[in-house]
């Protein structure tokens, strides 16, 4: 017995986990009956279908031959997610200008070809652009600076 289609195997496991997770979480709500369905009914049904499909996909991976899981590069995804989270934090406390600066400066590190001066210039351009377009032109309610 060996896994012949690793991609399917892991995808199946993830589906089983998500499906059963939703079923478990749904149990805190009222199930109701077919006539008067409670809030737990539909999620339970769909969750069960998802888990069942996941099981089939995972089991099938022992029979059908498929591709290996491609390499996960921690760099780009990690840096990007970090940059977006930092943008959120900065926008809340420091305003748009600082937030865009952080997003560009940190986010740019996701590429291997990043150059310092260029990135600084890009940050300046993006700040000017987003302030001019989003705040002044479109009048969107974005805080520019930290609340004093």
């Amino acid at each position: 017995m060996c896994i012949r289609s690793p991609k399917d195997f892991w995808a199946g496991l993830i589906f089983i986990a998500i499906g059963s997770g939703f079923i478990l979480l749904a149990q805190q709500y009222r199930l109701g009956d077919l006539h008067r369905m409670g809030p737990a009914m539909f999620p339970t049904l769909v969750g069960a279908l998802l888990a069942a499909l996941g099981a089939v996909v995972a089991l099938r991976s022992f029979v059908l031959v498929g591709a290996a899981v491609p390499r996960f590069y921690a760099g780009p995804i990690g840096v990007s997610v970090l940059a977006i989270v930092l943008f959120g934090i900065a926008l809340q406390w420091l305003g748009l200008v600082a937030a865009v600066a952080v997003l560009v400066l940190v986010g740019a590190q996701a590429s291997r070809e990043v150059r310092l001066l260029e990135t600084l210039a890009l940050a300046a351009v993006m700040i000017a652009f987003s302030v001019a377009v989003f705040v002044w032109l479109l009048g969107l309610p974005l805080p520019l600076w930290p609340d004093s």
Binding site: L34, H35, Y73, P76, I84, G88, Q92, L122, F134
Partner: protein, 499 residues
């Protein structure tokens, strides 16, 4: 001719200077962003959504439609010049389009794409104008059971037409439905799956989901696979095709338009399927079968006409049933909801100015694309020369600001970060995001209609099979699944997806 007078009414609305301006801005911005490699129409529409928030519903929708066509066309430009399809529906354009560019015929390739798109757009606009109203009439008679079955059919069709494994696609639909259920349950007021976070009371933001799965994860995949790109920016030459080109393409444009218009109406069809099908038909039908794959201009004209016609007619299910046939239409529905309009058959009667204004603006949008793209090709080409390392942080900025401005919630930004991570893992495992996004939009509607049906029928599920419309949809869904499960057809489908 009621349709014609309605169209005239629509033209009157679309031709107000203000709406023309918004249509123009939409087309311009859409092309501008769509040209950037690796950004498809979904991400483009999502990113540019904030530009429409301050507008009235009609101009907002007109502008969004402009953005959509622009993005579609921009993707073709990238496909021809860089050999990177900006989106999946221009994949086939790269085959002959890029070959033409290599032979120094980039100009005519771009030109015929614009002309083909324009002709297809004009015809498809008429199709929408004539077919949408009767469909909406029928849809008004639908009961909750019929709606539920229709959605099941729509999701099944979307899954069948998606790339990759059928089972995984259905699983992704289920995952999307579950994600869509997060938040307040309309019937009981219970807040579901929110982990006690008050920010999740309204559910996961659709824009965050679309941007994470179609914008951010795409950027990350591009960063991982950095390949040297061949950009043909130096010699575009005249964009006007020769008379001989035009003669050769006339049939291709007609065939592409017909196929595209039909396939666009199907749920899950839209531009992508249309362009693939058109190219394959063209390869079989065109005489003489000269040199497809080596820069045959008909190999550009047919799929480009088809994808534009398909993009247009995919508005039909959205406008008449309130059901999106692809992720871009799902975004349109999201945008309508932000404007406080519940999409569905009642839109046509309750908001005729919206309905007919949009249809008329489709035509104006197409004209604008022609006027905009032929002279401005040089500008788009310059954009392509901007290195990716400078582009992608800008994409991040647009996504983050865009998602925040939907609701002015900081939480949405964290959502996009989390969903990007989820999307990254799923994409690595070959799980397609498009079915999931449709499930996400349709999930709550399905639950609502299912509960209503069962309420009316006192818990008897047999209504789904005794109501004729509902039964027809369910049978069609089962047939589709059976057909695709047959081994011989399956091989054909895989072959088609390979090409």
């Amino acid at each position: 001719m009621e349709t014609l007078s309605n169209l005239a009414f629509g033209l009157g609305i679309a031709l107000s200077w203000q709406n023309i301006l918004y249509c123009f801005i939409g087309c311009f911005l859409g092309t501008l962003v769509g040209v950037l490699p690796g950004i498809g129409p979904v991400a483009t529409v999502a990113m540019l959504l904030p530009f429409t928030f301050g507008l009235e519903p009609a101009p907002a929708l007109i502008m969004l439609a402009g953005i959509y066509y622009g993005a579609q066309y921009g993707g073709s430009t990238t496909a021809i010049l860089v050999n990177i399809p900006g989106e999946s529906s221009s994949v086939v354009t790269t085959l002959d389009g890029h070959q033409m560019a290599r032979r120094g015929r980039a100009g005519p390739a771009l030109g015929i794409a614009a002309i083909g798109s324009f002709i297809a757009g004009c015809i498809a606009t008429l199709v929408v104008a004539f077919f949408a109203p009767p469909l909406a009439e029928i849809a008004l008679k639908f009961g909750p059971a019929d709606y539920f079955s229709l959605m099941v059919f729509g999701l099944v069709a979307a899954v069948v037409l998606a790339r990759g494994s059928l089972l995984k696609a259905i699983a992704m639909v289920c995952f999307g439905i579950l994600l869509g259920l997060i938040g307040t349950d309309v019937n009981s007021g219970v807040i579901r799956f929110a982990f006690g976070w008050p920010e999740l009371t309204d559910g996961i933001g659709f824009v965050a989901l679309a941007m994470a799965f179609f914008g951010i994860t795409d950027v990350i995949f591009n960063l991982e696979h950095k390949e040297k790109q061949e950009v043909f920016t130096s010699r575009i030459g005249s964009v006007l095709p020769t008379a001989e080109d035009l003669r050769a393409c006339a049939g291709s444009i007609a065939r592409g338009t017909t196929l595209g218009a039909i396939l666009g109406i199907l749920p899950g069809g839209g531009a992508l399927l249309a362009s693939f099908a058109a190219y394959m038909v063209e390869k079989k039908v065109a005489r003489p079968p000269r040199m497809f794959g080596q820069g045959d201009i008909r190999g550009v004209a047919a799929p480009e006409s088809a994808n534009n016609a398909g993009a247009q007619t995919s508005f039909i299910p959205m406008l008449t049933l309130g059901i999106p046939s692809n992720p871009t239409m799902a975004l349109m529905i999201g945008a309508l909801m932000i404007q406080g309009i519940a999409p569905g058959p009642q839109v046509m009667t309750e908001r005729p100015e919206l309905f007919w204004g949009l249809i008329a603006s489709m035509w104006i949008g197409n004209l604008m694309l022609l006027v905009l793209n032929l002279p401005l090709v040089g500008l788009w080409v310059k954009l392509l020369a901007v290195p990716y390392r400078l582009l992608f942080p800008a994409i991040f900025v647009f996504c983050c600001i865009g998602v925040y401005t939907v609701d002015n919630k900081i939480f949405d930004i964290y959502e996009i970060a989390a969903l990007s991570a989820v999307g990254y893992v799923l994409l690595k495992l070959d799980c397609e995001p498009a079915p999931m996004v449709l499930g996400f939009i349709l999930g709550p509607m399905m639950e609502e209609n299912l509960r209503r049906t069962m309420m009316i029928s006192f818990g008897d599920p047999s209504v789904f099979f005794t109501r004729p419309i509902s039964a027809a949809f369910l049978i069609a869904a089962v047939l589709l699944l059976l057909v695709i499960a047959l081994p011989s057809l399956r091989a054909k489908r895989e072959e088609a997806m390979q090409e």
